[in-house]
Symmetry: C2
Subunit: 224 residues, 2 copies
Amino acid sequence: MARTAGSSGPRTEEAIRSAGLALIATHGYAAMSLRQLAAEVGIQQGSLYNYFRNKQEFLFDLIRTHMQDLHAALDAALAPEGGDPVERLTRFVEFHVAYHVERPQQVFICYSELRSLEPDNLAAVVAMRRDYERKLSDILDAGRAAGVFRLDDVRMATLAILAMLSGICTWYKPGGRLAKDAVREIFLGMVLALARGEVPAEAVEAAPPPALSRRNGVARAGAA
Amino acid sequence: MARTAGSSGPRTEEAIRSAGLALIATHGYAAMSLRQLAAEVGIQQGSLYNYFRNKQEFLFDLIRTHMQDLHAALDAALAPEGGDPVERLTRFVEFHVAYHVERPQQVFICYSELRSLEPDNLAAVVAMRRDYERKLSDILDAGRAAGVFRLDDVRMATLAILAMLSGICTWYKPGGRLAKDAVREIFLGMVLALARGEVPAEAVEAAPPPALSRRNGVARAGAA
DNA sequence: CCCGGAAAAAAACAGTCGATCGTATTTTGC
DNA sequence: GCAAAATACGATCGACTGTTTTTTTCCGGG
């Protein structure tokens, strides 16, 4: 036998990428064998080499493509240049959460498999990530300058917010207790609270806060 | 040749654990070969089997030991049962950050190599993690009941805080821009701000909803 | 209808993997 | 100083790894 009836290059390529994402997310890059991947796609292992030059290139391509998509999508979400820092942070968080919640596997790989990238490939991905982080840092900087955010250290806040948001894709499963929108709004509330930072580090010893009114729901988000 | 002059069981065991931690943290469990590990320790790879029955048992033992240490240390840090929720949360955060900052590699493995554990071992570790999370959740619950914390969803806040704090060990390096104490206090401030949650409703409404639909309320009702 | 290139099979390659085993030597307890 | 236990070597196993090459078949455009 040789070429299978009904075979199509683009279709096979998509199947390989899809199966590869799932396998790497589940077992990790090193633990995924090309024989496993080929079996999942329904082809022989040697045939994979019609679609990439080696295993490392396959991983890098998956990650690079995803990072590019992420950047493009973020730019689109932040496209209206205007807006005060609170609004821009809101857009950032809502975008980031929505994007992660819809692609838990893909995003997870980009954080967990950096160790599996060879030096040059790693450098390229890290640079893209720095750009992404910078976009958040810029918003936080602007907010601090405008006096709406109180942050002791913008760099740390950037890392904290991204870690907290990206953590979502380690536990979120469709059909869970909370819908995507609910997750998004709850995390938005927490990020905004963090950014407004009513409690600077020095105030740790201070007395408990004043009385507060009871609310339910994060953002009643009314259409008003 | 056979037994090496000056060889000592306990000493070798410690060297294996130490080298294993470093190798797994750097390259991952699947990517670490026992020949690599043995070379690092300075013995032949067959000799490793005097110290564990197989590779999986070695990984599990590393993780289980660290989880047990973590629990014991946390219990000690929270030992004085009293204290208001703010004080207890402060103790929790300061402990957690200090512990992570001092053992970045070890702690990192416990988060990143869960996928490499066989089902039974994974279940044991997940149970320990649940216990750890519960201790934070209890503090947040108490704080919400007392009215000092405003949190829409304690479970999500627990995950958010842990993700944010545990993220530290992915970037913290001794000798960096900030000292351990500085990192600890900055993150404490952010967590307290997040927990006290001054914000959401007004902030969200303040930002005019430009692109995305921010409509519909937050929670789709508990719905199992 | 037919042909060139695309797509996959099939077989093989040289290494490496985790794991086992018998053996030799050293350490330790008495 | 001696026997028993501990420790490590060194060779080896079969299975599996990523990758290459050759061959066969199918698809699409003329």
